[in-house]
Symmetry: C2
Subunit: 181 residues, 2 copies
DNA sequence: TATAACATGTAACTAGTTACATGATTGG
DNA sequence: CCAATCATGTAACTAGTTACATGTTATA
C-alpha cells in the first residue's frame, strides 16, 4: 500500500525519495507512514514495474538527487486503486490495550501511572493535530490555487486524527475513573 | 508483540495453538490479532527460548494436540512486560484515509459511495461490540470467580472498540455531509 | 565545534500473510 | 452429502524495521 501513497504524491509533481519522506511526515503520518529505507526500496520496485521513472539530477557539494516521475501506467494504476471500493475493515494493533487486557495482577498504581502517561501523550497528539497539522493544511490551501477539492479531503483526514485523539482521551478518563476508586 | 499475547493467555491456563487462535478471535481481535500460522511459528520460537513448554496429548480419530504451558521464565518475562510503561504512541494505518487523501479527482459520487459503504461496515462493527463482544465479556465474568479484576479491564478494551466505532461513524457522517452539497 | 539538514542506498532481520498439505468427525 | 470443526504444520512471499555506510554544507 505504500506503493499508492508514493504514486499519489508523485501525481502532484516529480519528487525524490527524500522529499517523499518529508511530505509523508507532515501530511499522511496520521494514517500512513514509512521509513526512509522502505521508501527507497519501494520506489526501486515501482521503477522496475514501469510505474515510475527516475532521472539523476547532478548537484555540487551535496549528493546527486534521483528525481521520480509518474508514468502513464503509474497514473492509471493509481486511478484504478482510488476508485476501487474498500469492502472490509482495517484491523488495528494497540499495544496499550493488549497490555491493559493482561494487567490485572500488575497493581492499581502501576496501572494508573500507565494510563495517566498515555493520557498526556494523547493530549499532546491532539494538540498537534489542532495546531501544527491544521497550519500545514491551511498553508497548502492558501498557496495552491486549483487544489480546493484536495484541501477539503486533507482537512477531513486531519479531522479524523483530531476526533480519534479526543475519543482516546475520553476513553482514558473514563477508564481511569473506573479504576481509581 | 504477539509473543506477549500468547504468554498472557497461557497465564490463565495451558492451551494449544488452535485454542489460542480461538480465544484471540473472540477477545483481543479488536486490538490484537494473528493468523493461525503465525501463532504456531511464534509458539515454536517461544519454546526454543524456554518461555513455554509443550507436551503432545494423543487423541484418537483426530490429530494429536500440542498443549503449551508457561515456564517460570515465561511468567517473569510476561510480568516485566506488563509493568513496563509505554512511552510512545502506536502508529495506525487506515486504507480509507489514504485513499480519501488522494481522491480529489475520483468524482463525488464514487467518493460518497465509498464513504457510505464504510459507514455501513463501521455501524455493523459497532453493533458487534455492543452485543456479541459484550456477551463474551459478561459470559467470562459470570462463570469465572476470582477474575473480577480482569473483567473490569476486558470491559475497558471492549468499550474502546465501541467508542472507536462511534467516533468513526460520527466522522463519516460529518465528512459525507461536508461533501454532499 | 557539533549537529541538523541534505541525499542515497544496502544488508540483515523481524513480523505478518498466503498458499499448500493432510485427514477424521460432527451437524445440518 | 456438504460444510464446518478439530488440529498441526511448512514454504514462499510481502512488508516493514534497524543498522550500516558515506560525505558536504549551513546553522546555532
Amino acid at each position: 500500500m505504500l506503493k499508492y501513497a508514493l504514486l499519489g504524491f508523485l501525481n502532484y509533481g516529480d519528487m525524490t525519495g527524500y522529499e517523499l519522506k518529508q511530505i509523508m511526515d507532515t501530511s499522511t503520518q496520521n494514517f500512513w507512514h514509512a521509513k526512509q529505507s522502505q521508501i527507497y526500496m519501494t520506489l526501486k520496485k515501482l521503477e522496475e514495474k514501469g510505474l515510475v521513472i527516475s532521472e539523476i539530477e547532478p548537484q555540487e557539494g551535496r549528493p546527486d538527487r534521483r528525481v521520480y516521475a509518474l508514468t502513464d501506467g503509474g497514473r492509471e494504476d493509481l486511478h484504478e486503486w482510488v476508485i476501487a471500493p474498500i469492502t472490509d475493515l482495517d484491523s488495528r494493533k494497540e499495544r496499550l490495550l493488549l497490555k491493559l487486557f493482561f494487567s490485572a495482577s500488575s497493581g492499581k498504581e502501576t496501572l494508573l501511572m500507565q494510563l495517566r502517561l498515555q493520557r498526556e501523550l494523547h493530549q499532546q497528539q491532539l494538540a498537534h493535530y489542532q495546531t501544527a497539522t491544521k497550519a500545514v493544511v491551511q498553508g497548502f490551501a492558501s498557496i495552491q490555487p486549483g487544489l480546493e477539492e484536495d484541501v477539503v479531503l486533507w482537512e477531513a483526514t486531519r479531522r479524523f486524527g483530531e476526533m480519534f485523539e479526543e475519543m482516546y482521551v475520553r476513553w482514558l478518563d473514563e477508564t481511569i475513573a473506573r479504576l481509581d476508586v
